[in-house]
Amino acid sequence: MQRQSRIRSNAPLIALAAVAGLALFAASPVSAAEKIGVSMPNIKGPWFTPVLYGISDEAKKLGYDVTIQDAGGYANVDKQVSQFSNLVVQKVVAILMDPANPASFNGVVREAKAEKIPVVGAGSPIVASEVEADAAASSSHCNIGHELAKGAKKLLPNGGTIAVLAGPPGAFWASDRLRCFKDDLAGGNIKIVAEQTSEQDPAVALSLANDFLQRFPKVDMLYGADDTYGVGAARAVQGAQKCGKVKVLFAVLGEAAEEMMRAGCADYVVAQQPVVIGRTAVQMVDALVKGKPLAAKKVEVPLVPVTKANLDSINKTGMQAPKGWTP
């Protein structure tokens, strides 16, 4: 009883100690190296992990510390904007970013420019809709759409129907890819019969693809905006025992995508090179910080179309982080 009363009376002190302890426990040692800030809408998954690996590894080689800010999802634009402001306050030497939505970042990117902090696109050619990036390394989302359209035409030379897993609602990268994909297919004999946006979650993509297969049992192809959607689609096709009969195409070659391709359930992947994108972006930052001229202000890292035929022969070091690496 007495002991309980003592605990109660000391509760604020316990709380105080706990919070201080948590903060100190969580704190990482401050290093003297110059710091590069990284602002991402998300840091998990087969796209962001290799981008961050490329950034972290290249920064280490060039002697920079890296501060990564994760907004926790494309829906959290406001959070990413706040985190970007945090990086400006920290007076990092440069900010690498992939904006959840470039229209939202004009104000904060102007603030960074006012503080003379270069802002470099890492995975996105633009950082804000009205303010130009100091440099950018990316693959064009529209070109990904064009490449996906080429893949669709190769897989369905006699035409057919496609159901589209369009990506997260409101994500500009997904809408850009799909817009250019549709432009190339317009007027041809390949028709889109269904199109849905959804959360960027493999389980949600799987159930959406299952619904498509139920609703359109004769559909010829499933389109995935990236490999979260593509792998979900491939697993749905596998579950329906339709591998090879219903073609699956998507962007980004992660480990799960590779596995599905080996199983014959993913047919065409437009692979980006996220590790190369991350490395290139850091090299650009280094040049900007040291006042060296840039070879090009915007570098477009080439896309690699992958099918089961060339899966083993392509170099994947630019596409995937080493196994087990986490940001």
């Binding site: 919070v19 926790g72 634009v77 406001d78 939505n101 229209a103 409101g170 500009f172």
Partner: protein
Amino acid sequence: MVMSEKADAAGREQSRAKPVAFLQRYGREIGLPIIVAAMVGVFSLNSDVFLSAPNFRNIGVSAAALAAVSFGQTFAILTAGLDLSVGSIVALVSIVGALTMRDFGVGAGLAASLAAGAAVGLVNGVVITRFKVFPFIATLAMMSIVSGLALSLSGGVAVTGVPETFSNLAYARTFGIPVPVVVAVAVLAICFIVLRYARLGRRIYAIGGNEEAARLSGISVGTVKIAAYVMSGLCAAVGSLILTARVASGQPALGATLPLESVAAVVLGGVSLFGGRGSVIGVAFGVLFISILSNGLNLLNVPSYTQMMVVGGALILAVSLDQIFIGARAGKRS
């Protein structure tokens, strides 16, 4: 000699008992401000930039929208309810406001935004009181409906073309204080006055404390609850305007994390989830706690996954403390 020793011991016991009694009586109210102050100290010692004016402005701007939404959430929770639809209200208001401002100007956009927020709050209130749907279910369902409406209105893409006179406000300052912070403080003042001095506020506390007693004393419970949800919707609309100005566009997925963050801020601020107890000033400290913790951990380069664990742990700690103090007070009364 023996008497004197006894008197000394009693005196020592009494002097020790005074601070203990004080903590038992006011610990819940002063605990969070002390913790916030301690956090500021810890982060100041560990980060070069934490204790700087630009960083505090940054914290203020980041916290402003959460603050407005949380002050509104306080009304719902004080009635022993909950408003999970605040995030989708923020998204809908962002789209409605951006579309209206683009076509009819800032004044019309502001009016449409507040009207949209109040309308969703009104529907929430009506569904809860007239159709007898639990607040959790009613607002969960409204979250889905309103979110779908925001996506439909915008076609799933951002609405651009928001007038600069509006979007620049997010970066403007009045006497060195960012305008979003001024707006949040104004919302705090209004909510404080309504809850403390207005008839509506007293009735909200009465209903949250004992709904049946409130009904028997002649309070129109349904009307007061509807008013509480309208206030929640209005405050969410103000939060949305702050965020929309900050991101200079209408975003159909804006405010996705606000339902949980606002409930966390309200609970951390000492408002009882069972209703009838707590103050909006405490909620302001709850908002500060979340915002400062997040900012400080970011400045210390703590990985985001660790941050999630720290914030969750802090929430459990706060609720446990609440229970400890409730127990302490109940024990003292008995």
